[in-house]
């Protein structure tokens, strides 16, 4: 069974009597252990699609299913808290907290069962994605862009969720760093059985993913 799927999802803006569709009859499923990319031009609706998958917004019609269950029934807030990790283009870390404290924020929010030694887990996560301990104790505004995005990835992983969603995660990063981040995503999918869905406009990232979908005129299609 797909870990997360959309079923006949429509999303539109009402403009008088007219509906301007961003997503139309979208049905797609995503599995664990795979690294997906969603391609599309600016304004094509990629971010809207990701916001629906991450329960930051609700579809006008249709369903988002998590392990076959409508996330409406799970509760959007609950779903975000326990089932999904989100990575944003502009990192969105808490500036006055250290890297390790940022990773520990969702640990205090989630209801998922986590090990007691949360700080150690957070250090390990940061270490795993390439942030050494000395940097983990720095306030995040003292870290580089690439390092901040790694911290954001560690934060998305902190609650031990199965689905990682990323919105243009390398948009603000240099090419070299971009590759390192992509490598992390691949590792998460293939070695840790996560479902990683990355929204991007970069063909290079798309080429490295297991499956790529393209969003055009509200329709999501497989990109071969």
């Amino acid at each position: 069974m797909a870990i997360i799927a959309t079923e006949d999802v429509n999303y539109y803006y009402q403009d008088g009597d007219q509906r301007r569709y961003i997503l139309k009859d979208t049905s797609i499923s995503f599995d664990k252990g795979k690294f997906y990319t969603i391609l599309g031009q600016s304004g094509s609706g990629k971010t809207t699609f990701l916001s629906l998958l991450s329960a930051l917004d609700a579809p006008k019609e249709g369903k988002i299913l998590y392990q076959g269950k409508d996330i409406r029934n799970i509760g959007y807030e609950n779903f975000r808290r326990n089932n999904v990790g989100i990575i944003f283009q502009s990192y969105n870390l808490i500036p006055y907290l250290t890297a390790v404290e940022n990773v520990m924020v969702p640990m205090a929010i989630t209801e998922n069962k986590l090990p007691d030694n949360q700080k150690e887990v957070a250090y390990n996560l940061l270490d795993y994605i390439g942030i050494v301990k000395s940097k983990s104790d720095r306030q995040v505004n003292q870290l580089s862009g690439g390092e901040q995005q790694r911290v954001a990835i560690a934060r998305a992983l902190a609650t031990n969720v199965d689905v990682i969603l990323a919105d243009e995660p390398t948009g603000n990063l240099d090419e070299g760093i971009e590759q390192e981040i992509v490598a992390i995503f691949k590792k998460l999918a293939h070695e840790h059985d996560k479902c990683v869905i990355v929204v991007t406009h970069s063909n290079e990232i798309a080429q490295q993913s297991d499956d790529t979908y393209i969003l055009r005129k509200g329709r999501l299609a497989r990109y071969e």
């Binding site: 930051l56 807030e77 779903f79 326990n82 944003f88 808490i94 006055y96």
Partner: protein, 517 residues
């Protein structure tokens, strides 16, 4: 990293913003604390002075109202007064607020052979009382003398009146020990008050009184058996505390003290009998002794036939807090031109500088709370707008809004509580400084003279301490009382919590998608 830890980290690591909020709350907190401290201090003065003044009451003629009446109206007002109608006094005495009530029949014996105590003269040539002192006669109705109950006097030798003496009107008396010592009077002695009435004298240029050919003198000996001696209690103690350089006070104080030592307590019945007999004898020997115009004299004679007796009532209330309820109910039972005087009324007359300050501080309190609500709301709101992304992160991570709100409230409260705690002390100092200058400025504009109060005599008869503006001002003290601290914390924290309402509505309306994507 739960919301408590995040709040602590935010407060300690975002120092600049914490400091700005701290400064705002601290400054406004000082104004609020100062206003509360002044209010509390003025209330304490009122409470303490009123407590000291006690809860005793009497009935007096409303002299101010009487001034607007014609002569006939004044006479009928007096006849309808509770002071001449014992039944009215008794009705008032039966009100539930009254612990006990009493009444005395007053009189005054001016004597020549028996010497009264003269007031002590502090500095030669500065005190002149115009004529010698006489004896104030206070009728009693109970075995325990009313002034004993009020604590004005203490029986130090002998005994008080017996039931039989009270009902028969036997001419027995209790005098001051000072008078007894001066006149060498012992318990059991029968002394003679040579009560004198004199008319037709003239004042000479040097201020002394000279007899003329028109002078009429009537003397009647009133024998009184002395059964007890008393010592004056309160006034003496109070006098010692008074500043000696307050000449006006000292003259009045010495006169008042001498008057108390010249008081003779007798049964009411005896006083009434003596008065009646004295006036009858006077009239017999000298018809129209005071040389009234014929018409007026006739009228007075008719009135005397009605045997009007003047009663001075005294009510001890159960609880000082019942004073106003007692006044309201008693006023309905007494004469139209009578008024109820309660010992604590004196405070209203002398509290001018404090009540002015209390009003100002009350106003400042409302304005400061209003300004705090507005300013703190705006400061928090501005800071929250800066933290929109942070709040969006919490919401996108699935944090409950109530916890996001909780973090902001905890942050604001940590900073505010520190500022409020410091303001408790500094606000107190501010209040002290401000109130000193406010009192000084108010004192200059208020010139109340307690001794010129038309009801001063009645207040004295209530047996309570008399208060002056100086007493009130010296009793004023800004201090760190528990009630001040509790009130300030309550007002301060309530103001801060109310200030967070609008910012919290802002958080409630945040949409994480719009912020984050």
């Amino acid at each position: 990293m739960n919301f408590w830890k995040r709040a602590l980290a935010s407060v300690s690591r975002r120092k600049g913003k914490s400091l700005i909020l701290f400064a705002v709350v601290f400054i406004l907190g000082n104004v609020i604390a100062g206003a509360i401290a002044i209010q509390q201090s003025t209330n304490n003065v009122e409470k303490n002075i009123k407590k000291n003044l006690g809860a005793s009451a009497t009935i007096s003629i409303d002299y101010e109202a009487m001034m607007n009446l014609t002569e006939d109206e004044s006479e009928s007002a007096f006849k309808e007064s509770a002071l001449t109608n014992l039944a009215m006094t008794k009705q008032v005495g039966e009100l539930p607020y009254v612990a006990y009530f009493d009444y005395t029949v007053p009189s005054y014996f001016q004597t020549e052979k028996l010497k009264a105590i003269e007031p002590e003269e502090e500095e030669e040539g500065t005190v002149s009382y115009g004529g010698g002192m006489g004896f104030t006669v206070v009728g009693g109705n109970t075995e325990e003398i009313a002034d004993q109950k009020k604590g004005k006097i203490k029986l130090v030798e002998g005994r008080s009146f017996s039931e039989q003496e009270l009902s028969s009107g036997k001419q027995v008396g209790i005098i001051s020990k000072t008078l007894a010592e001066q006149e060498k009077i012992a318990i059991g002695d029968k002394i003679i008050f040579d009560r004198v009435s004199r008319t037709g004298e003239e004042f000479t240029d040097d201020g002394s009184i000279k007899e003329t050919e028109n002078t009429k003198t009537f003397v009647k000996d009133i024998p009184v058996e002395i059964i007890g001696l008393f010592d004056v209690q309160q006034t003496e103690n109070k006098g010692k505390d008074k500043e000696k350089d307050n000449q006006h006070y000292f003259v009045d104080y010495n006169y008042q003290l001498a008057e108390q030592k010249n008081t003779v307590y007798m049964p009411n019945e005896a006083v009434m009998k003596i008065e009646k007999e004295y006036h009858r004898s006077l009239e017999e020997e000298y018809p129209n002794f005071w040389d009234f115009p014929e018409e007026e004299y006739q009228k007075m004679k008719d009135e005397e036939a009605e045997e009007t007796t003047y009663y001075q009532p005294f009510f001890m209330l159960k609880n000082p807090e019942d004073a106003e309820a007692f006044r309201k109910e008693a006023q309905a039972l007494i004469g139209k031109h009578d008024k109820v005087l309660i010992s604590s009324d004196q405070f209203e007359s002398v509290s001018g500088p404090l009540s002015g300050m209390s009003k100002i501080s009350g106003l400042v309190l409302y304005v400061a709370v209003g300004a705090s609500l507005l300013i703190v709301t705006l400061v928090i709101l501005l800071f929250l707008r800066d933290r929109k992304h942070e709040l969006g992160v919490y919401l996108s991570l699935g944090e409950k809004r109530v916890k996001v709100i909780g973090q902001i409230v905890v942050e604001v409260m940590i900073i505010s509580l520190v500022a409020i705690t410091l303001s408790v002390f500094t606000g107190n100092l501010v209040a002290d400084g401000v109130s000193s200058s406010l009192i000084a400025s108010q004192e200059q504009t208020e010139n109340y003279e307690m001794y010129s109060d038309p009801d001063f005599y009645e207040f004295q008869q209530l047996g309570t301490e008399t208060v002056s503006q100086e007493d009130v001002i010296s009793a004023y003290e800004v201090k760190l009382s528990a009630s001040y601290i509790v009130t300030f914390y309550l007002v301060g924290t309530a103001t801060i919590l109310l200030s967070t309402i609008v910012p919290l509505i802002y958080i409630m309306r945040l949409n994480p998608k719009k912020i984050m994507m």
